[in-house]
């Protein structure tokens, strides 16, 4: 059974999305972009970006904003208005329905839209690697029956079975899962490239119905860009007395720079517009354009445009017989809503209500359509929401380090296991301290529980294999098991509520981790250096012992000397990390020489070089084992101090 894709068939741009693994995902076009310009050249059969690039060349043949004409009659007020602006030929067809004429051929708006939908279909099939025959297509809430029919027809001409036509604001609400939150009234503030739409929806019988709509069909991001372009040119004229608008090259650069600046000012307080060699002065000297544009200045430039959205919002509320305070949720749609001032204005209009904007405003409608498609396909009867574990889970290992096993934000249910080992020779038990948190040191994280696995057969340190497994089920219950692979003996602990932390608690812990990141990193590095040094001392001593006669007296002395130095260094509480590292390297160096000698003097197949082999183990795992073991060492020491006899 194939997937049902969701298509946002927009006036300026279209977007396609599909459900994947229970989540909506935007399908990139063949050009690698997420949006398809809603532009068609029916003679040469060009659609999208390619059609856009030859628009100026071919204004009579390039159809854009066809959505304005869908399902309309030639006598409609909107059509009469648009006919004055649109450069292509608009004529009457059957029953006075609008048609476009290109090189003598007449096309219905459906046929033109179908070409856009056709491209969406082809790109989707290319991406998904399978045939796509069904789609959900969105329309503005104010579209009447004729317009909806036309849209459905367009889909059918493109080769789709149109499973449903849904309203854009409803799709946006679906994308935010508002019906799950049971938000009674929702307002959608949609400011795109060329049009502004405000809609108010009400939840009734589990479905959203449109109560009222309003807007401005000729107000969008492009107008904002124009304000900046005008300002740049005016400022330059003031400074240099030269007009730039007549210069095609300069104007193009300014246009690009204006859009870039606008976008940057959504995240920065100011930006610099730098266009070197923009033009020449009267005496042939090159002139450069350097202007600083602050967010405040931009806001003042576009203030009247933003104000233009206020009246429609107020009228819409009036038509819905509601007040701003009655609105439960506000959604932002359309790229221009990324502007902070707009978000501020929206918040102000709706009495301080924080608008929903986490979903990409250019894609939110397509996402919602995809969700609807998923529901209709039956694989999302109930949008199955899987939980995630909010904080990292792990255990305490050698040196008081927190070793993660399941990273935060991992979707559950899930399980992960890892092999650890002992710290000391003949260590017969290990303590598992289950930790939750982002800090690298165990003491700074939350201990969810502890248990001990004993009965480990005596063996040299690092030899036993203890498999520690973390398993979180769909309900968030964590089971931690420690198993000795040699004996098969295992112990486990069950922890509930590991995912049920309060939101602010999670935020607090995450924030603390960020704040202490640097010092934590240093602490951890120091411990790791110590562990490495400790391990090397052990290895070196063992190697010398095993080597016996194979090492000359002098060489042996050199190694023993280095061992002593390193031991001394790490015995100091406040040993500097660089010192530890240096001494470790020195010992490592002389030890390798000895190891090489042993190989030279030994026939193959001898097992006497266990010391050297151990060094070759992946450092990570090795040190992990060591870390883990040291903890046991400390645990044992503690127990001994408490008077318990620890069986060696």
């Amino acid at each position: 059974m194939s997937k049902i894709i969701g298509i946002d068939l927009g006036t300026t741009n279209s977007c396609v999305a599909v459900m994947e693994g229970g989540k909506p995902k935007v399908i990139p076009t063949a050009e690698g972009r997420n949006l398809i310009p809603s532009i068609v050249e029916p003679v040469k059969n060009l659609v999208g970006d390619v059609a856009k690039r030859q628009m100026i060349l071919n204004p009579g043949n390039t159809i854009y904003s066809i959505k304005r004409l869908m399902g309309r009659k030639i006598t409609d007020h909107e059509v009469v208005k648009d006919k004055k602006i649109l450069p292509y030929k608009i004529v009457a067809g059957k029953n006075e329905m609008v048609m476009v004429e290109v090189e003598g051929e007449k096309y219905t708006p459906q046929e033109i839209s179908a070409k856009i939908l056709q491209k969406a279909k082809t790109d989707a099939e290319g991406y998904l690697g399978e045939k796509v025959t069904e789609a959900v297509i969105t329309v503005p809430a104010y579209f009447n029956d004729s317009q909806r029919q036309a849209t459905k027809q367009a889909g059918e001409i493109a080769g789709f079975k149109v499973k449903r036509i849904i309203n854009e604001p409803t799709a946006a609400s679906l994308a935010y899962g508002l019906e799950k939150k049971k938000a009674e009234t929702v307002a959608i503030y949609d400011l795109g490239g060329g049009t502004f739409d405000i809609s108010i929806l009400e939840l009734g019988e589990g479905v959203y119905e449109v109560k009222a709509t309003n807007g401005d069909t000729h107000l969008g991001g492009d107008d904002f860009d124009q304000k900046i372009i005008d300002w740049i040119c005016d400022e330059f004229k003031k400074d240099h007395g030269i007009g730039l608008k007549a210069d095609a090259q300069a104007l193009q650069r300014i246009k690009d720079a204006a859009e870039k600046a606008k976008i940057e000012l959504s995240s920065s307080k100011e930006t610099e517009i730098n266009l070197p060699f923009i033009t020449q002065s009267k005496d042939g000297q090159p002139l450069h354009l350097t202007q600083k544009l602050t967010r405040a200045k931009l806001e003042s430039l576009v203030d009247d445009l933003i104000e233009k959205t206020v009246r429609p919002v107020k009228d819409c509320l009036g038509d819905a017989k509601l007040e701003a305070k009655d609105i439960d949720e506000v959604i932002l749609v359309g790229g221009q809503t990324r502007m902070p001032k707009i978000q501020e204005k929206v918040k102000e209009l709706f009495r301080g209500k924080e608008p929903n904007k986490s979903v990409n405003p250019d894609e939110v409608v397509a996402m919602g359509a995809a969700i609807q498609g998923g529901v209709l396909a039956g694989d999302v009867k109930d949008v199955l929401l899987l939980d995630v574990t909010p904080l990292t889970l792990g255990i305490e290992t050698l040196g008081g380090v927190s070793t993660p096993l399941i990273e935060r934000n991992t979707t559950i249910p899930t399980s992960k296991s890892q092999i650890f080992s002992t710290a000391s020779d003949n260590q017969t038990q290990v303590e598992i301290n289950v930790l939750q948190g982002e800090r690298p040191m165990a003491a700074d994280n939350k201990s969810l529980g502890r248990f001990i696995l004993d009965g480990i057969p005596p063996a040299p340190r690092g030899i036993p294999q203890i498999e520690v497994a973390f398993d979180i089920d769909a309900n968030g219950i964590l089971n931690v098991t420690a198993k000795d692979k040699a004996t098969g003996k295992e112990r486990s602990i069950k922890i509930t509520g590991s995912t049920g932390l309060a939101k602010d608690e999670i935020e607090k812990m995450t924030k603390e981790a960020e704040e202490h990141a640097d010092e934590d990193k240093q602490k951890k590095e120091k411990i790791e250096a110590r562990n490495l040094a400790d391990n090397l001392v052990f290895t070196a001593e063992k190697t010398l012992k095993d080597a016996g006669e194979k090492v000359s007296g002098d060489d042996k002395k050199v190694v023993e000397e280095k061992i002593k130095e390193l031991k001394e260094t790490i015995s100091k509480e406040d040993a500097v990390i660089d010192e530890i590292k240096k001494k470790t390297e020195e010992l490592s160096g002389v030890l390798q020489k000895v190891g090489a000698q042993m190989y030279a003097s030994t026939s193959p197949g001898q097992g006497g070089s266990t010391g050297a082999t151990q060094d070759q183990q992946p450092a990570e795992e090795e040190s992990k084992k060591e870390k883990k073991s040291k903890k046991k060492d400390e645990a044992k020491k503690e127990e001994a101090e408490e008077g318990e006899v620890v069986n060696e």
């Binding site: 994947e20 693994g21 390619v50 059609a51 690039r53 100026i56 060349l57 095609a248 650069r253 060699f277």
Partner: protein
Amino acid sequence: MIGSKKDQEVKNLKGQIEDFENKWKRALADYRNLEKRVQENQIDFVKYANAKLVDKLLPILDDLERATAHIKEKGLKLILNQFRNVLSSEGVEEIKILGEEFNPVTMDCVEMTKGQKNQVVEVIQKGYTCQGKVLRPAKVKVGRGK
């Protein structure tokens, strides 16, 4: 009576099991497909990973070219060549179009002007391909003919 109630329960449970099995299989299938796609994407990603970075550098190349047109300094020319060589080594190629027929795949028409119909009359901004794919279409003025 009890019997049929039990039967009904069994029927319901069987239905549920089938439903869960299907959903599970679907989820698994989605996962497998995603894995495949991730693998494919990675190959693509490696191929075009640098394209975005190169795209950011193109305006600087434009400005350097403007500078060398105005400033006759040998050192500057050397820098420009150096920059061009580095880009070339990353698979970046200039789209050669002056005098060519307009092609919307590689070009973006920003203005119509006097000149032979459909021919590129002036290059406003150079276009480049990266690894064979159009990175930035050239912005051009096209002739409008008679």
